[in-house]
């Protein structure tokens, strides 16, 4: 009888501890999830479509600068869901005219194509790894197009002021950290605009390795928009500064343009020369 009792207590303890650990690992609080969902919508999905002219400065440890200038078109296929992107490179000279078409899907790999004008080649690109650097910068594809809300557990861990902004602090823990390649991220989300002001990335060992910071927010067409931001790689002592030179919303991008023709015949009405 005693044995049975002891065993049942142990089993109970194991059960409870298992449950408890699981909760610690992936504590998904409603407030955290709501904050993150608002952030994703404000950051990745503002308005139905957008045209942005983007400059990137990639600065390495030695202080050498590489620059990229590109135009990005975005269309939301469904609010908070699938999106279509088109990216055209203006600079540097050796990639001028190169373009990308990305059909972002929630729940499966994106469809991605690249066009190389010098050989008129439309190439399909494998996209299993979203941690690949975007155009050689410190931003990854995932940073540029976002992780799906359900891939992480989101926990509201406090409130903090950054400069003049009142922020919610949310800790996002991947449900499959090995796949994600990091242990968690900490977001400072502005309560007023829902935009992220700072994101700390912690590696698998729990060490801070990458920091995103918003430098400037402007309200364009009634939409609060991040116009300047940096991503710092702490170990590599590198950073990338990204500047939105021109952002226009609702310029009339339609879903039927996101096909092969867009790559072979860049839409000059939006991207200019």
């Amino acid at each position: 009888m005693k044995k049975i009792l002891a065993v049942s207590i142990i089993v109970f303890l194991l059960f409870v501890s298992g449950f408890w650990t699981k909760n610690v690992c992936a504590q998904d609080t409603q407030s955290g999830k709501t904050a993150m969902s608002d952030m994703l919508l404000a950051y990745y999905y503002p308005q139905t479509d957008a045209k942005s002219e983007i400059s990137m400065r990639i600065v390495n440890r030695q202080g050498q600068v590489r620059e990229r200038r590109l135009t990005m078109l975005r269309l939301n296929q469904t609010p908070g869901g699938d999106q279509s992107y088109y990216i055209y490179f203006h600079e540097p000279a050796d990639v001028k005219g190169m373009s990308f078409l990305v059909l972002k899907h929630l729940g499966r790999d994106d469809d991605r194509w690249m066009y190389l004008p010098a050989i008129d080649l439309v190439k399909r690109i494998a996209t299993s790894d979203k941690r690949t650097s975007f155009a050689g910068s410190d931003f990854t594809y995932e940073d540029v197009s976002g992780r799906a809300l359900d891939e992480d557990a989101h926990e509201l861990i406090g409130e903090e002021d950054l400069n003049i902004y009142h922020c919610l602090v949310v800790k996002s823990t991947p449900k499959r950290p090995d796949e994600a390649g990091f242990s968690y991220r900490k977001f400072w989300i502005d309560k007023a605009t829902h935009l992220p002001l700072k994101v700390e990335h912690y590696n698998i060992k729990g060490k801070l390795y990458k920091v995103y910071e918003t430098q400037d927010i402007q309200t364009l067409q009634d939409t609060p928009t991040i116009t300047k931001a940096t991503m710092k790689d702490l170990a590599g002592e590198r950073y990338t500064e990204i500047t939105m030179k021109e952002v226009s919303y609702n310029v009339g991008i339609t879903s039927d343009i996101f096909q092969e023709r867009l790559l072979r015949r860049p839409p000059r009405q939006w991207i200019g020369d």
Binding site: D94, D109, R124, A126, D129, R261, D273
Partner: protein, 456 residues
């Protein structure tokens, strides 16, 4: 002499630009701290000439490709690549007159000035020179000299019947030069149901053939590896209305899969017909190709899978009985590519070339003819890894044919030192058992190459 002078000028130009670039880079880094992010346009001089100059882009490149050991059969024994190149390109999009502007016109020109010290010539080539208009919202027309590409292969082509420059490929020029331009009209119609490309090529352009002057090869008239002594006479189809080549592609996406069917009527791009054996006169026989392709995500394993098939109809030897003309054939290609964390990428292809009417081929073969298999198989493997925030690319592409028992490997390192300078080193190495197979015949041309490019 002329080429020496010109290469000297090009080198001087490279140096001048590179020096001015250094000073530019320094001042820019100082300026950017001070003036922050003023749009570039505002920094530019309003001068009209400056504006035109700004719209001109291109590169200057110097390349050297010494041969490993190699045979002493070609024009130069020690190297097969030594050249300086200046490429300029410019686009013009007229806003007037109104009727034309509404067609969204674009004129594009790209030309290469090549000081080729191997051939001791200075050559100017228009790589692209076309006008592109959209007379209707769902239609494009591209007229003029252009590069044409379609299909799913990686360095392997079934339905891409457009001209290639394998000489450039084998000596280590940039991949861009594997594609040779066509003088053509391309008409495209787009719809959600199916999109159509029709390419009309009135002026036949063959592949750049290997003729022995730069690359030694198996000369089947001589029955051995030959170099500059090879003396074939190439007869191209006459420029006539009925010799106009037509290539079409119908394509659409089915979910995440891209599907296409292709049809072509024209000529072989390789001189696979013999007109007169004793005169060593070869020609480009008539050809039709029908094919299909599909490409999309590989289920469950991730990555991109593709398949392509093509039937080559050798119109002047449909029975396969004429030993002087290539037989009809089937070509099959399966491809797979995927990426891995830390910028690794691998690609694999399995390619089969089936000779049709093989019994007739065998029955009509004569002693001295190149032996062939009914099924020629080829495997390719590509592995790429990027380092240093994607500024250094290490890659290895290899071809291996189990049926021909030959192989070709292309290792390459490309370093993007900054936004303007790029250094590429690589090698072309051929292996094999039999002198007459596709890759082994090039064994005497193994080279190492180095290219330095400045883009602007």
């Amino acid at each position: 002499m002329l080429s020496k002078v010109c290469s000297f000028i090009i080198i001087a130009f490279i140096l001048a630009i590179s020096i001015s670039d250094v000073s530019f880079a320094e001042s820019a880094s100082i300026n950017s701290e001070k003036i922050g992010n003023i749009p570039q346009d505002e920094r530019k001089s309003p001068d009209a000439w400056a504006k035109i100059f700004d719209s001109v882009h291109g590169f200057i490149e110097t390349a050297y490709g010494p041969k490993f050991l190699g045979d002493k059969l070609t024009q130069k024994n020690d190297y097969n690549l030594l050249e300086q190149r200046l490429q300029l390109k410019v686009a013009y999009r007229p806003q007037k007159p109104a009727w034309l502007a509404s067609w969204n016109p674009e004129f594009f020109y790209k030309g290469d000035l090549l000081s080729d010290e191997y051939k001791e010539i200075l050559r100017y080539q228009t790589r692209e020179g076309y006008g592109l208009v959209s007379p209707l919202s769902w239609m494009d027309a591209k007229l003029g000299r252009q590069i044409l590409t379609w299909g799913t292969g990686d360095y392997l082509f079934i339905n891409d019947v457009f001209p290639k420059d394998y000489e450039s490929f084998f000596i280590g020029r940039d991949d861009e030069y594997l594609k040779a331009p066509s003088d053509a009209g391309k008409f495209s119609i787009y719809s959600q149901l199916v999109s159509v490309d029709v390419v009309v090529i009135p002026f036949f352009t063959p592949d750049v053939s290997i003729r022995g002057d730069r690359l030694s090869f198996y000369d089947n008239f001589l029955g051995r590896i030959a170099g500059k002594e090879s003396s074939w006479i190439f007869t191209e189809p006459a420029v006539q209305f009925e010799n106009t080549e037509i290539a079409t592609r119908l394509y659409r996406n089915l979910g995440e899969y891209e599907t296409a069917i292709y049809a072509f009527k024209g000529f072989f791009n390789q001189p696979v017909g013999i007109k007169n054996e004793s005169a060593k006169e070869v020609f480009y026989p008539k050809l039709a190709v029908f094919g299909a392709s599909i490409r999309g995500p590989a289920p469950s394993v991730g990555g991109i899978a593709s398949g392509e098939i093509g039937y080559s109809d050798s119109l002047q030897d449909r029975s396969g009985e004429n030993r002087l003309i290539e037989n009809s054939g089937m070509k099959y290609l399966l491809g797979y590519e995927r990426d891995f964390p830390k910028d690794w990428r691998i690609g694999m292809q399995y390619f089969v070339e089936q000779m049709l009417n093989f019994d007739e081929f065998k029955a009509n073969s004569q002693p001295g003819d190149i032996p062939r298999d009914e099924f020629r198989q080829l495997l390719t493997f590509r592995i790429t890894k990027l380092f240093w925030l994607q500024t250094l690319e290490a890659s290895l592409f290899s071809f291996y044919s189990p049926t021909d028992s030959d192989a070709y490997i292309r290792p390459r390192l490309a370093w993007q030192a900054n936004d303007r300078w790029k250094l590429t080193v690589g090698a072309n190495i051929f292996f094999g058992k039999h002198d007459w197979t596709e890759f082994d015949q090039l064994e005497g041309n193994d080279n190492f190459y180095i290219r330095l490019r400045y883009s602007f």
